[in-house]
Symmetry: C2
Subunit: 337 residues, 2 copies
């Protein structure tokens, strides 16, 4: 059964070199990147993939942190172009391994980002664009960034949302969320969920009913807290006096929770079977996509293997399993199967 | 089948009056409290309970916000005593309805809080103590608060952790988490999860192996993100250069995730069936407790009914269901069945 890994990370060589130069002052990121050879060593990467057979393919994207968080607008925009050119070249060289790639953009220069998004999708063959859950702490739905959603609707390709540390966390006065890497384990899924909420309440699914947004880590916290999302946001405004949220609710065409079901979600839960079932229950079999988040695993290939094991045990038909593994993402990205 | 609702909220009359006086400047809280009569109207409360039959009982606790967040140390401590006396009186008057209550404490006066916790459990018959996930933004595991865990171990009764808005959220510069009540829907479960992480990494389960901690809303984000909690925190330190987390991991006797399974979790997911199954899978049938979080529901009794419907459909034996409904909490709190 063909398996297209929809969210995993790789640095093409030229991007990797330029990024390390720019990020030399960011010791934590340097440590993380240098400690994971599979992130930039193509031969090592292909060897791990070989172990999973010819059916296993990857749609490549570049990992966090966001480009805009470690370089100014000009450098970050250049880095996006270098990276997108590099990924496009990898796809050309290894079409059996990498059926497509997800473009990066630097949202600290929005106009350059919209231009690069179009170039990558229209000229380079990117099958979508990756952004992060916030842009240096500002919501992804800040007014100046909204044209990005129009670009995605125009190209009819998905927007991948990767979590990023939020401004609230960076500003935590006691630095306490820095402790124990809470910002990663818990902060990232929280950030993903917040970005989803902003997209819903900005009315973007009413403006673009066919908008395709892929959320990492199985939709953040939304499926597990379906009850809070449903009953809680139906009562939006009962905890607030200074904003008329009742009026906001009336501008939306559906219940808030119904919009949350319009996102796509990947299976990158690192082997959490009960969580994967919960996410599948929420989004349904047409909106769940196989992804491993490789290579940030304890040993090479562990997340790919554990994620496949979970999907193989899901209580779905083989036809449904094939959609989760490849059919859904292929349809979204217009990849021939 | 007897059903003991382990986490739901009520203000005794004297507490309610005094609290409204103190909170008169806090318009959002006043709005929330005044809009929910079942929070303080005993007759209305008993009528709703009657609809669920004689088998349905409630262990009462007072709701958020934390006492320390809206009054200085002296007033907050007095409020705790007034509230605990009031709940104890309700338990005496209605033992068939309210088999016990959870004491409140004001942690902005830690010594008074430890004294009140002992008084409530030893003299008033409280079956445990409720705290919040942070104390005016400081971790529950701040050094000055650690004796509380010793008190709980000494009394061998559970500590209930209710979420509260975190300092990170209050300080969010753009005020953006105030938008759309994100602090409630998503922030609360995030806060619960952070508090759990702090308790684990403070080594409190090594110090007190029989420590009993009840987490609201099915253990926050932990069960859904079991894979991040497991694999991620096994790799604690790989994302950090300035702290030697490897040394911390060596001081712990178990893998981090194994401590997270030592918490108890309630079923207050507001009718989320897939989430409840996911939480049950993580914590196991001996550590899941029926709770509704009534009365913050869209219509009186809705959360009680929806939560029971979910529990009734869980794929467990009737003996296991009876433990979730009443046996587990009765054993924890030494309530006769």
């Amino acid at each position: 059964m063909r398996k297209i890994d929809a969210f995993n990370h790789f640095f093409p060589a030229a991007f990797h070199k330029r990024m390390l130069d720019l990020a030399s002052s960011q010791k934590d990121m340097g440590k993380r990147v240098r400690g994971v050879p599979l992130l930039h060593d193509l031969d090592a990467r292909l060897r791990v993939m070989d172990a999973f057979g010819d059916d296993y393919q990857q749609i490549l994207s570049m990992p966090s942190p966001p480009l805009e968080s470690f370089a100014g607008p000009a450098d970050a925009s250049e880095l996006a172009r270098i990276g997108n050119d590099g990924l496009a070249e990898l796809v050309r060289q290894h079409p059996q391994r990498f059926p497509s790639f997800v473009a990066s953009v630097a949202l600290n220069d929005p106009d350059a980002a919209f231009t690069e998004a179009r170039r990558a999708m229209k000229d380079l063959g990117a099958c979508g664009v990756q952004v992060f859950s916030n842009v240096n702490g500002a919501p992804l739905t800040s007014p100046g960034l909204l044209p990005l959603f129009d670009v995605m609707a125009e190209c009819d390709l998905p927007l991948w949302i990767h979590p990023a540390r939020g401004a609230d966390m960076a500003d935590y006065k006691t630095e306490s969320v820095s402790q124990f890497e809470i910002w990663w384990t818990l902060g990232w899924p929280y950030e993903t969920s917040v970005a989803m909420a902003r997209i819903v309440f900005a009315g973007l699914f009413d403006k673009h009913p066919h908008l395709k947004i892929i959320t990492h880590h199985m939709g953040g916290m939304i499926p597990y807290f379906e009850g809070r999302v449903g009953h809680g946001w139906d009562q939006l405004g009962t905890r607030t006096t200074d904003v008329d949220y009742g009026a906001l609710l009336k501008t939306l065409k559906k219940r808030p929770i119904d919009y949350f079901r319009m996102f796509y979600a990947d299976t990158a839960l690192f082997g959490a079977e009960a969580g994967t079932r919960c996410g599948l229950d929420f989004f349904g079999v047409d909106r769940v996509l196989f992804a491993s988040d490789t290579p940030f695993e304890p040993q090479p290939g562990v997340y790919i293997r554990e994620t496949m094991d979970v999907i193989d045990r899901l209580p779905v038909s083989d036809a449904e399993r094939a959609r989760i593994y490849a059919g859904n993402i292929a349809a979204l990205c217009r990849i021939g199967l």
